[in-house]
């Protein structure tokens, strides 16, 4: 799912400063931590508090949308709620903000979140970890189910590099070396021989940014 972190309240209050009536829209889709109605209501209270301290009374309303990255669902859910609304503050990832921008071209939409990465939720450790880079040329079949593109700081396809120290990455010793994990995993599966083949650079043509496909 898409991992986001809330922006500092001051930053949000700054870009909302020209507006008085704002709809705060949560997203019940995949964002983690969940950014649904509870988060939207909490943000209403926090921004009203912050606004008061700046001497401004904000008129904020909370709602939540099933999936902000869906243009049809977002338009139909928002249409009935935007009377008298001057701006929308989205709790979704960057996709949500841009979907709103697309379906409501006259209503300014702002992000309350910084969108960080696509991550797995490791509940037991209380962490959210980037594990897929959406590179368009998936090599998990060869690397024992562990992605070096997303999880190696250098995105090496033939690792590890000389900076792998006791299973940790030289860039950030707090993180596992992806190639150390790959080798241990392949060893465990008895497939270490798969690494004898040198992998050529991945096919960057698979996804030409910005990515777009037609369903």
């Amino acid at each position: 799912m898409i991992i986001t972190a809330q922006k500092p309240l001051d930053e949000i209050l700054d870009f909302l400063s020209p507006y008085d009536s704002i709809l705060i829209a949560g997203c019940d889709g995949c964002t983690q931590p969940p950014r649904g109605l509870r988060e939207a209501k909490t943000l209403v209270q926090l921004l009203e508090l912050g606004g008061k301290l700046r001497g401004k009374n904000l008129n904020l309303r909370a709602t939540t949308l099933p999936k902000q990255c869906d243009s049809y669902l977002t338009l139909t859910a928002l249409q009935s709620q935007i009377q008298g609304i001057q701006a929308i503050l989205s709790l979704a990832c960057g996709l949500g903000v841009q979907t709103i921008t697309q379906v409501l071209p006259d209503c300014p939409a702002f992000p309350s979140q910084n969108t960080l990465f696509m991550g797995s939720e490791i509940r037991e450790d209380n962490t959210l970890e980037e594990r897929c880079a959406a590179c368009g040329d998936c090599m998990l079949a060869i690397t024992g189910g562990i992605c070096p593109v997303a999880r190696c700081a250098k995105s090496l396809l033939n690792g590890p590099c000389g900076g792998s120290q006791h299973g940790k990455c030289e860039i950030d010793p707090g993180k596992d070396c992806a190639w150390d994990l790959i080798i241990k995993r392949l060893e465990r599966l008895g497939r270490l021989a798969a690494l004898q083949e040198i992998r050529t650079p991945r096919n960057f043509g698979q996804v030409v940014r910005p990515g777009k496909i037609t369903e």
């Binding site: 309240l9 649904g36 109605l37 988060e39 209501k41 909490t42 926090l46 508090l49 939540t64």
Partner: protein, 347 residues
Amino acid sequence: MLLEIEKCQVCAICYSSCPAKAIDIIYYDMHSLTRYLENAKEEYKSDSLAIMCKGSAPDFQDVGKLFGVSKFIPLSVPCVGRIPPELLLKAVSLLGMKNIYVLACDEDYCRFERGSAITGRRVTALNVFLEELGYARELIKLKRNSLKVKADRSKCITCGNCVFYCPYDAAKLEQGAASFDLELCRGCGLCVTLCPAFALDLEHWEQERISTLISESPKEKGKASILVLRCQWSVFPGLDEEFDSNVRVIDGPCAGRVDPLHIVEALQNGMDGIMIAACPQEDCRSKTGSKEAQRSITALKKTLSQIGLEERLHFCSVAPRYPEAFREELNQFKVRIENACSEEARQ
């Protein structure tokens, strides 16, 4: 006898069971209980007594409904297992009680393991004894009640928080929505606090009910107002517990039910300081409630620091075995908030 105070949970079952009356306890001792009943008899003008464990219901509405009575002397205690049988006899023989209603938690859910079961046995024995003495049959009536989660499956967004965080494995995702095994649910409310979609609620501790209680908190002009959200197992209030007029205390089923949304609502409603009293993590009656509460309050404090309000929120761990701890925390916090408010007023 040696008492290891660090282990004591102040359930008082030892006190209510000791045949030699060698153990006394500061909360709800025989003398205070008797005095309370004597005064309450005058005040309530009733010959019915209702004793309720705090864990089985937050107020006496349920007692009335479950037993079908409207007028009674209320006595709310943390676990009915602490009530010595002598008190019940005294209530009948000296105070002339005609009915005694006892509402305990379901045996399996007793926060003190055996308190509810022991009470069941005591009530059976006392009823036999009283009947032999010529009193009405089944003069003491016992019922059991436990609070449970309520799930609105249509609101569920399948985030899985309840499944992961439920300390009792009562939640699972089934056919696209959370569903609960109510036999396993112990009503701690942690899942309710962590549900991002308001799909869950807790009997008697509903989101709305707590919001209303908070909005009714007293606010006096020129006086700092303090809200305390407290786990009902972290502090055992005396029978005559009183607070200053600017302090509002709301007991909840567990610190895990302390909702960051309620805290910001309270601040937004003009409360000047919010204090959260939780049990020490190792004493938590809902396994992980206190730990999770501390985590979410710490996160909220961080957010509040962005608008300079972090000092308005205070989290503390207190245990009934140290009866002064709560008051000390509250007094210190109150002074801090009062100073902050008068500082603000000066500016």
